[in-house]
Structure formats: structure tokens, C-alpha cells
């Protein structure tokens, strides 16, 4: 179980997050939405271990989480998500190699053969068995994200963090990726946290939707107050939740995406 206890994050006077308290059970699929700069990415980075809370605690099974990334928590970024100098197959084999103790990060002999088989199976599951020996720059954006997901899942992390993983993809490809993500989640049952700008994605893909927004506003000092979780909704049953929402959050009144962040 993952628990946030009265979590705050501020940089100097700039409060990004305040009073975030949350309990997430093993195996939930949590989607995080909100406007740009609302702190949802900061929250994800704290879960990842690259940012530390200014106040409060982040607990995994009642133990404080390590303040650096580790093998408990897999991550898929929007870009730069794979190693450009390794072929598709090597990217996944390397993920297995990193899981082993050892100085070089290379596997040899029996262990290399085993890792190769595992990697091939994983890549077949995400639909990349035709591209084993290609380099990431030869892949399309969608295939590259498939690879990143395969890499993140092969060591079976307990928590899978997704930072706008499909934000740079075409809508059609995004739909394929949603189906893949659902399948993999059903199969491996990691606890998933996904940041997204796409509200449909947030509603459709997860089992629980968190909306991040400012709880209070000071128009003269916009940085004085941070964001918190304004809505915490069970989702995933189409049609059931939507009608209970305030009009501003209802799906039909929403643009498909919030102001998109620039990506290159």
C-alpha cells in the first residue's frame, strides 16, 4: 500500500503542493490530471524518488520510500525513454542485466540466454517482435513507447509510473496503446500512477482518477498556495461516474486535451 501523509512541496516561497494525503491499494490504476503547473508531475517525481517532499511523508507499506529511484518503481517518460545506443532487444536485455548484481551491466553465458528469451517474450507481448534488431531512432514514436513499457515491466516492478507516456503520439496510435496498457496491467497487476493531459485517457484507462488543482487562490500572490487533490473519483465504469460530476468536469464539456505542453 502506498500512502501520502500531509505532503507538501515548495521551492522557496513557491508552494507547489500542499496537504496531499492519499492511500492507494496494491494494484490500483490511478490517473492524475490537472492543468499545467498544478503539481501532478511533481507528485509523480516524488513517487519516483527524484524529488523529495518538503514536509510530510511518502510511505510504501508503512516504510518511507527511498529518496532515489529504485527497482520497486518502474517509469515510462514521454520521451528519452529508451537507450538510443542499444537495439530493441538489447534495451530489454540490459534491463534484465541491471537487475543482476554485477559491475559491468553485461550478462554472459546461461544468464544471457535466459534474459534473451525473457526479453523476446516481453517484446512479443508488446508487439515488437518484428523490430528486435532495430535501433530506437528507426522506430516510430508509438513503437518507442512500446519498447519503453516492455523495458519498465520486464523486472516486474510493484509500482509503475507513467509520465504522459502517450502525450506525443497520434490519437489513433494512442488508442492502441491504451488497449496494450490495459492488457499489461491486467496481466502484471502493478500499482500504476499515470500523469496525463488527456482527460478521456484519465477517465477511460484508470480505476481511480485524481484531479490536482489549487485549493485556495490569492490573486495577488499566485505562488502562495499550492495545489492539492480536489477530486478523487473511482472511474472505469463508462457512464456511471460522469453524470455525478460538476458540469465543468463532465466529459462532453471538456476539450480532449488540456493546453498541450510543447515537446520536440
Amino acid at each position: 500500500m502506498i500512502e501520502a501523509r500531509n505532503l507538501w512541496k515548495h521551492y522557496g516561497d513557491n508552494v507547489v503542493l500542499e496537504r496531499v494525503s492519499l492511500k492507494v491499494q496494491e494494484g490500483e490504476f490511478v490517473t492524475l490530471v490537472g492543468t499545467s503547473g498544478c503539481g501532478k508531475s511533481t507528485f509523480l517525481k516524488m513517487l519516483l524518488g527524484t524529488e523529495t517532499p518538503s514536509r510530510g511523508a511518502l510511505l510504501l507499506d508503512d516504510q518511507p520510500m527511498r529518496d532515489e529511484p529504485d527497482a520497486d518503481r518502474g517509469i515510462v517518460f514521454q520521451q528519452y525513454a529508451v537507450f538510443p545506443h542499444m537495439s530493441v532487444l538489447d534495451n530489454v536485455i540490459a534491463a534484465r542485466a541491471f537487475h543482476n548484481p554485477g559491475v559491468t551491466g553485461y550478462l554472459f553465458g546461461q544468464r544471457h540466454r535466459l534474459a534473451t528469451t525473457e526479453a523476446k517474450n516481453m517484446l512479443e507481448r508488446v508487439g515488437l517482435s518484428q523490430a528486435l534488431h532495430q535501433y530506437p531512432h528507426e522506430l516510430s514514436g508509438g513503437m518507442r513507447q512500446r519498447l519503453a513499457i516492455a523495458q519498465a515491466l520486464i523486472n516486474k516492478p510493484r509500482i509503475l509510473l507513467l509520465d504522459e507516456p502517450f502525450g506525443a503520439l497520434d490519437p489513433g496510435i494512442r488508442t492502441d496503446m491504451h488497449a496494450l496498457m490495459r492488457d499489461l496491467w491486467n496481466q502484471y497487476k502493478p500499482t500504476v500512477f499515470m500523469v496525463t493531459h488527456d482527460l478521456r485517457e484519465g477517465f477511460y484507462l484508470g480505476t481511480r482518477l485524481l484531479v490536482f488543482d489549487k485549493l485556495r487562490q490569492d490573486p495577488h500572490a499566485p505562488q502562495a498556495y499550492g495545489a492539492g487533490i480536489t477530486y478523487d473519483l473511482p472511474v472505469g465504469q463508462p457512464g456511471s461516474i460522469e453524470s455525478t460530476l460538476p458540469p465543468a468536469l463532465q466529459l462532453k464539456s471538456l476539450p480532449q486535451t488540456l493546453p498541450a505542453v510543447a515537446f520536440s
Binding site: T50, D70, A71, Y80, H85, F98, Y135, A148, N155
Partner: protein
């Protein structure tokens, strides 16, 4: 009429425009040389190509009377040995220094300011010290080249290391990688093509230090030879030697560029 910045030479013109300056220089030289030799057949300043050919034949094909060596090839061999060892040492030290300072903040804190200051010391000003410490032999010349270009390579590799997206390092950590594993499997392979680029850029400086060191204290080498024959105003030797050095530099540069594309296709493609 389009704006000047939008005008491009059409493709057949492109090659012609590239060759034209070379042809022009050649013609100018031939005219000047002919005119001077017409007025004074003993003129040494602008020798004809026949005179240069004779001089090079003497140096490249006839054993020297004093040592029995083919001087031109002996000069080339010793210069390239010095340059090669200097550059190889600089590349290795630069790679290790750059990788460690770029990847490990604890190493960067004490070393990066030192590296910056050392890179500002003019290497040629250190040459007398090197001669005093290492003597006049091969070692001081190799050390000069190494000292001259190591800081450049180290800083370039350090910058390249820090430019590798942070996401990759985080990713590797979430896969369970340790620090040495990240250095060896994520960073080092991605630095190799950048090291080759850094070596290409530093070869020019390498030649400079080589020729300077040879001019001051050597008994053979390309730089030694051109400074030696300067006393006799032997332009018929100097000009072909300069052309030969330029050709060697060009061949090294293009070979390294080709090697880079061949070995690291993902780098040339701006791998993501």
C-alpha cells in the same frame, strides 16, 4: 529576385564552385612562379612543380647520405608516432576525466574548477618546463601534445556526459542499475562517438603542438625538416611538406568521421 539568404547554387555549380578557389590558387602560383623563374632561374621563393618534384624525389626515394634513411618517410613516421601517442593518451585521460566529472557530482566539485584553470594555461608556455623535466627526447613532445589537448577533450566529454538526458539515468536506476553499471552501459557507449568528434576537433591543435615541439628540439620529424631547410630557403621542400601535412590531417579527419558513422549509426541519426 529572391533574398540573398535564399539563393543556393544549383547542383552542378556546387562542385564547380568548390573546386574553383583551388584551381585559381594553383594558376596564380604557376603564373607567379614562372614569372620569377623567368627573371632569375636561381630564384628560391616560388619553385616550379618540377623543382619540388626533384626535391621530394631526393627526400622520399634516395637514402640520405648521412644516415641511410629515406628522410621523408622517416620524418613522417616519427611525427605520426608522436602525434598518435599524444592524442591517444589525451583521449584516454580526457575520456575518463570527462566521464567521471560529468557523471559524478562528488568528482566534479573538486576537479571541474581545476580543469577549467588548467585548460587556460597556454601549453606552449609549458614547453620549456617540459624540456627541463622530461629532457629533449620523445617524451617531452608527446607530453606537450597530451597536455595541450587533454583539457579540451575532458571538458568536451564532460559537457557531452551532462547533455545525456537525465531521463536515461533515472530509467536505468528504476531498472536496478548501480553506479558502475550506469557508467559502463549507459554513459560510456554513448560517449564514444562524441570522443571521436572531440579528437577530430583537437587534431588541429595536436599538429600545432607537434610542429612547435619539433621545431625547437628534434632530430627528425616533419616539423623539424621544414624548420631545418628554412635556413637554406628551400621552399621546394617546405611547400610539399606543408601540402603533405595538410593531406594527412584531411585523411585523419575524414577517416574518423567515416568511422563514427560506421560504428555508431544511432549517433549520426541523432539517436533518441
Amino acid at each position: 529576385m529572391k533574398r540573398l539568404i535564399n539563393l543556393k547554387p544549383a547542383s552542378p555549380w556546387h562542385l564547380l564552385l568548390a573546386v574553383l578557389p583551388f584551381a585559381l590558387l594553383l594558376v596564380l602560383y604557376l603564373l607567379g612562379s614562372d614569372a620569377r623563374l623567368e627573371a632569375n632561374p636561381a630564384d628560391k621563393l616560388l619553385p616550379s612543380f618540377a623543382q619540388m618534384g626533384d626535391a621530394m624525389e631526393r627526400l622520399a626515394l634516395e637514402p640520405s647520405k648521412r644516415s641511410g634513411e629515406l628522410l621523408f618517410w622517416a620524418d613522417t613516421a616519427s611525427s605520426l608516432t608522436r602525434l598518435g601517442s599524444g592524442v591517444a593518451i589525451a583521449a584516454m585521460i580526457g575520456l575518463v576525466l570527462g566521464l567521471l566529472t560529468g557523471a559524478l557530482p562528488l568528482v566534479k566539485a573538486p576537479l571541474a574548477p581545476l580543469l577549467t584553470v588548467v585548460s587556460l594555461v597556454p601549453p606552449l608556455a609549458l614547453l620549456p618546463i617540459l624540456f627541463i623535466v622530461f629532457g629533449l627526447g620523445e617524451l617531452s613532445k608527446v607530453v606537450l601534445i597530451a597536455i595541450g589537448i587533454t583539457p579540451f577533450i575532458a571538458r568536451d566529454i564532460q559537457r557531452s556526459t551532462m547533455e545525456i538526458p537525465q531521463e536515461q539515468l533515472v530509467k536505468a536506476q528504476t531498472l536496478g542499475a548501480s553506479t558502475p553499471q550506469i557508467l559502463l552501459r549507459v554513459l560510456l557507449p554513448q560517449l564514444m562517438p562524441r570522443l571521436i568528434d572531440a579528437v577530430r576537433l583537437s587534431l588541429g591543435a595536436g599538429w600545432l603542438f607537434l610542429i612547435a615541439a619539433e621545431a625547437i628540439a628534434a632530430t627528425d620529424g616533419l616539423g623539424y625538416r621544414i624548420f631545418l631547410v628554412r635556413r637554406y630557403m628551400a621552399m621546394d621542400v617546405i611547400l610539399p611538406y606543408v601540402a603533405w601535412i595538410t593531406l594527412l590531417a584531411f585523411v585523419f579527419d575524414s577517416t574518423l568521421a567515416r568511422l563514427n558513422r560506421r560504428l555508431f549509426p544511432w549517433h549520426a541519426q541523432g539517436g533518441r
